[in-house]
């Protein structure tokens, strides 16, 4: 079919979980394969067709010089480039290195550190090339991924809200755990997971990163009232989206 859009899925520094979300579509996977030509997706198929591609989904962050060059090549071959997940969008859990000395990490982990060539930081794709859309989450939500693909094929804007997780809690009828005494990152976290953790009576872990205008300082002050120590607050903001500017700034405001 001449009109079929060509899809590519790329991996950088990441765990593969977001790419797996595409394979995890199961019921819808055939419809996806029907609607697009999956031209390049090494995780799924050894058939790797050359570019250009209409849509590139990029997983992972940039942690090596080689990858910093490779992402530019990916961008050149892609009409639309969409990052999938916290690594590609914010630098991921591996951006904890940004707060420390990566040489010390390498020395602590590898028997022969001299084999390791890595950058001092883990950075999001948008620090390197123009990104057309960012799908949040660790991992991404497969419903949002399908919405992104449907919107792309229909030539419309994806219906993906930048509101807080609180809006999803209220949609589901969840009872606010924070008001019941459990510290929660929901009020400053981007929606998208469907308020998974609060629905299980846990505070939000912030997997989808900061919302559009997060008042992290006010939330941290409330966490303190609920008994959280500065170290707890620092750690809460320093997970999968540690390098997202709003979360990074807040974590740096609280000591060990």
């Amino acid at each position: 079919m001449a009109g079929k859009k060509r899809l590519a899925v790329w991996k950088f520094a990441s765990c593969d979980g977001c790419q797996l979300s595409l394979l995890d579509c199961e019921d819808e996977l055939l419809a996806v394969a029907e609607a697009v030509e999956i031209a390049y997706f090494p995780e799924a198929s050894s058939r790797m067709a050359k570019g250009p591609y209409d849509l590139s989904l990029v997983e992972g962050s940039i942690t090596t010089e080689h990858d910093a060059l490779r992402i530019r090549k990916v961008r050149r071959q892609s009409k639309f480039l969409v990052t999938i997940g916290a690594c590609a969008t914010a630098g991921g859990i591996q951006s904890l290195r940004n707060f420390a000395d990566v040489a010390e990490f390498v020395a602590a982990v590898y028997a022969s550190p001299h084999y390791i060539k890595t950058l001092a930081t883990s950075t999001p794709i948008s620090d390197h090339v123009k990104v057309d859309f960012e799908l949040r989450g660790c991992p991404i939500n497969k419903t949002q991924l399908l919405e992104l693909l449907s919107a792309f094929l229909a030539g419309r804007k994806p219906v993906i809200s930048a509101d807080s997780v609180c809006t999803e809690c209220k949609q589901r009828g969840n009872i606010c755990v924070m008001v019941q005494g459990i510290p929660c990152l929901g009020p400053v976290t981007h929606a998208g997971c469907g308020a998974l953790c609060p629905a299980c009576r846990r505070g939000c872990y912030g997997c989808f990163g900061p919302t559009e205008n997060p008042n992290t300082a006010a939330l941290a002050a409330e966490w303190q009232k609920l008994g959280a120590a500065p170290r707890d607050i620092r750690r809460a903001f320093r997970t999968f989206n540690a390098a997202a500017p709003a979360f990074r700034t807040e974590s740096e405001a609280h000591g060990e």
């Binding site: 693909l149 809200s161 509101d163 807080s164 209220k170 009872i175 005494g181 006010a218």
Partner: protein, 385 residues
Amino acid sequence: MAQDGLSVGVKAVIGREEIGALIAALSARGWRVLGPRVRDGAIIYDDVAGLDDLPAGWTDTQEAGRYRIERRTDAALFGYAVGPHSWKRFLHPPVERLWQARREGDKVTIIAEKNDEKFAFLGVRACELAAIMVQDRVFMEGPYPDTAYRKRRENTFLIAVNCGEAGGTCFCVSMKTGPKAQAGFDLALTELIEGERHEFLVEVGSEAGGAVLADLPRRPAAPEDIAAAEAVTARTANAMGRTLETEGLKELLQGNPEHPRWDDVAQRCLACANCTMVCPTCFCTTIADVSALDGTAERVRKWDSCFSLDFSYIHGGSVRKETKSRYRQWMTHKLAHWIDQFGTSGCVGCGRCITWCPVGIDITEEAASIRADSGKCQEGGNGRA
């Protein structure tokens, strides 16, 4: 007029067990009965099948940003104030599909939604009745009534419960909406508990209510029963957790758009939208058209909030970029512009926005602060006429 029922205004007394019979009678007549239940440490509204589902012997304690449930010393069925849910989630659901469309070849078929569910709400508080009436004005009056809302509303049976407990964040007395239900119900209950006695005074508010009550075992209300019920709501009225001075409030808020308190509250406000979603009168929505890969599409309406950046997005960007302007918009609309727009305040004094704000921002306290300092602000030259 009520051949097979009791007239509007009739008062009777029923026993505690008859609440179960009431639920059964409504179910038998085709209503989906929704009422209070304990879930996840809160008293919420959900389907109730019988007396055992109700939160017997539970109450709640509420403060700004704080909610807990606790055991009572009695077995009251309605011994709590309002919880995290409001009836809004049934009459004006958080996510509502307006229609679906299917494409087959060149042909597009539109599939309409049914909306034929009949709700019976058990335990509607006076403030909640007032809130339903506020939303009725929003959705059903004017040139473009909301047909889905109207259909649901016309099929709804309302059983009010006059409050025997004032919550820590309640201020219905200030808003003149409670704690006693005055109108708009089919039946109104007042729980009477004294020593061994556990009964309900029932007042008929509509023909439909009279017909349902006629099916239940009951005795006529004696003057002592009516006096006992009056004493319950009088006691509650004297125990309000909060007050809001409404005298001149509209002019106060409309006259202080540059008050420094707006900056102060913006420091604390998370712009998380919880207050608007728990509010039983907030009605704003957004519309999303979604197409799927299989050739189907749908139009969905979702609750929206004036606290989101997208809410005020027009060509060129969002009008209310700062939290300050969003909080000011919400509060001044609720307490002031609503009066210009719909003829009443948008606030019914239920206190949910205070309790369910994760950082405990209190609308009554914000209003009082603006009132206390409004003179200073004008002297400072910040006030805009």
